[in-house]
């Protein structure tokens, strides 16, 4: 017979962890998207002058996220800053997301045909009008699938914040495992929750994309 010592409160504990995962994802994507769009615009507008920025962002893509967490966390202690581990998690994930987001935005803007921009300028639009009414709306459509993928990958990467002591989904699952010693069951549930959350985000994104396509 199937029997388990997994209790409802354990499950609730894990769901609370999942909620932390979602909060982290949302906060990181907010920081990441805002600064990513800014950096991406800069990269597209001034490709040469912003090269150093590209190098810096590249570092964040080339160093393991885990190490970035540890470094920021220790930097926090060194500088004597009084911010929570959660804030560090959001900040690191946010910068990490920004590094990827800037590339997505840049290639989205570059995908807008130069002739279209010339057409806009030939109608007498200013640089900013061209950017606002022609380039950005089109680039958004191109960049959106990449951005959605980024949301999904950031959500998965939040699992790493357990290392700096935040109780998100995987960490809460681990403490449940430690208590009831049924790793396979508990981890399968955790996996299922991750899977469902991914599915949910992907569905939401697809619906949004479809609505745009209908309007086109």
């Amino acid at each position: 017979m199937f029997s388990t010592s997994l209790t409802a409160s354990d499950l609730l504990f894990m769901l609370q962890g999942a909620w932390v995962t979602l909060q982290l994802t949302a906060a990181a994507m907010l920081i990441g998207t805002l600064s990513g769009v800014l950096c991406g615009l800069l990269r597209a507008a001034l490709p040469r002058a912003s090269l150093p920025l590209a190098w810096v962002l590249d570092v964040f893509r080339s160093v393991p996220l885990l190490i970035q967490f540890v470094l920021f966390n220790s930097l926090k202690s060194i500088a004597g800053l009084d911010i929570s581990a959660f804030a560090v998690g959001c900040l690191v994930l946010g910068i990490y997301a920004a590094a990827f987001c800037s590339e997505i935005v840049r290639s989205g803007i570059q995908a807008v045909p130069a002739n279209l921009r010339r057409a806009a300028r030939s109608l007498g639009m200013s640089y900013w009008q061209d950017l606002r009414f022609v380039v950005l709306p089109l680039a958004t459509r191109v960049a959106f699938p990449g951005w959605l993928n980024l949301v999904l990958s950031v959500m998965k990467d939040t699992a790493l914040v357990m290392w700096i002591g935040i109780f998100e989904l995987l960490r809460t699952s681990q403490s449940v495992v430690t208590r009831i010693q049924e790793p396979l069951l508990v981890l399968c549930i955790a996996g299922l929750i991750y899977y469902l959350m991914s599915l949910m985000v992907a569905q939401l994104g697809n619906r949004l994309e479809k609505r745009w396509q209908e309007n086109d």
Binding site: A79, K156, L160, Q174
Partner: protein, 221 residues
């Protein structure tokens, strides 16, 4: 503000050990890529089968690999298999986890790559009297290789970055593991991990550069 003094010299003394760790990291990543590529080819083949069981198996693999954290995948192999009485070492769990992840992502890339080689190429090859195997080996696969080369090299970088997760399941001889060992002994966290970050960055850049060089050598058309 800073009443902390950096001790870089201590960190540099650890450099030889860390370089050894970097070698383990690179080996593990390369092995996981080799196995992952082979499995991905198999999964790509299975996904084209009519049999719903084989196809379902491959789809499930790809779907789980892509929709759950890689750390979770390593976890379930480390702790989960223990429940079956199979005790796996940290290193094996890490290798298996990354391989599982690589295979899932690469299978998706391979499928996209196959779509990008036009059907007419197969048709032209067959019209010259080649059998299906020859057509694949001589015409389709070489073109596929060029299409998936960039994703493959990207995945190799990801594999290196993912090896850092081994430390969470207790691995202590890869780059992150060695770094963590020194950290625990001396609590010079920032110095050691900054050095590790530099090494990871160098490894990642080396992979990207050598991939670019290889692509330039391999694909002259």
């Amino acid at each position: 503000m800073f009443d902390y003094s950096f001790h870089w010299r201590i960190a540099f003394k650890a450099l030889p050990d860390m370089l050894n760790g970097a070698w383990v990291t690179l080996e593990t990543a390369a092995l996981s890529m080799l196995l992952g590529t082979l499995i991905a080819l198999l999964l790509t083949l299975l996904r084209q089968q009519q049999n719903p069981l084989l196809r379902g198996f491959a789809e499930t693999w790809v779907s789980i690999a892509r929709n759950t954290p890689s750390l979770f995948q390593i976890y379930i192999l480390y702790f989960g298999l223990g429940a079956f009485g199979l005790h796996v070492s940290s290193w094996l769990a890490l290798l298996a986890g990354i391989t599982f992840n690589n295979a899932g992502y690469l299978a998706e890339n391979f499928r996209g790559g196959l779509k990008a080689v036009p059907d007419t190429q197969m048709r032209a090859a067959r019209s010259l009297g080649m059998n299906a195997f020859q057509a694949y080996r001589l015409i389709i696969v070489p073109q596929l290789l060029r299409i998936v080369f960039h994703p493959l090299s990207n995945q190799m970088v990801w594999a290196v970055l993912m090896t850092s997760l081994g430390v969470i399941v207790g691995l202590n001889n890869d780059l992150t593991g060695v770094t963590q060992d020194y950290n625990v002994k001396t609590f010079r966290t920032f110095e050691y991990f900054a050095l590790a970050a530099v090494l990871y960055y160098l490894i990642a850049k080396t992979i990207v550069l050598s991939a670019r060089l290889m692509a330039w050598r391999l694909f002259r058309y």
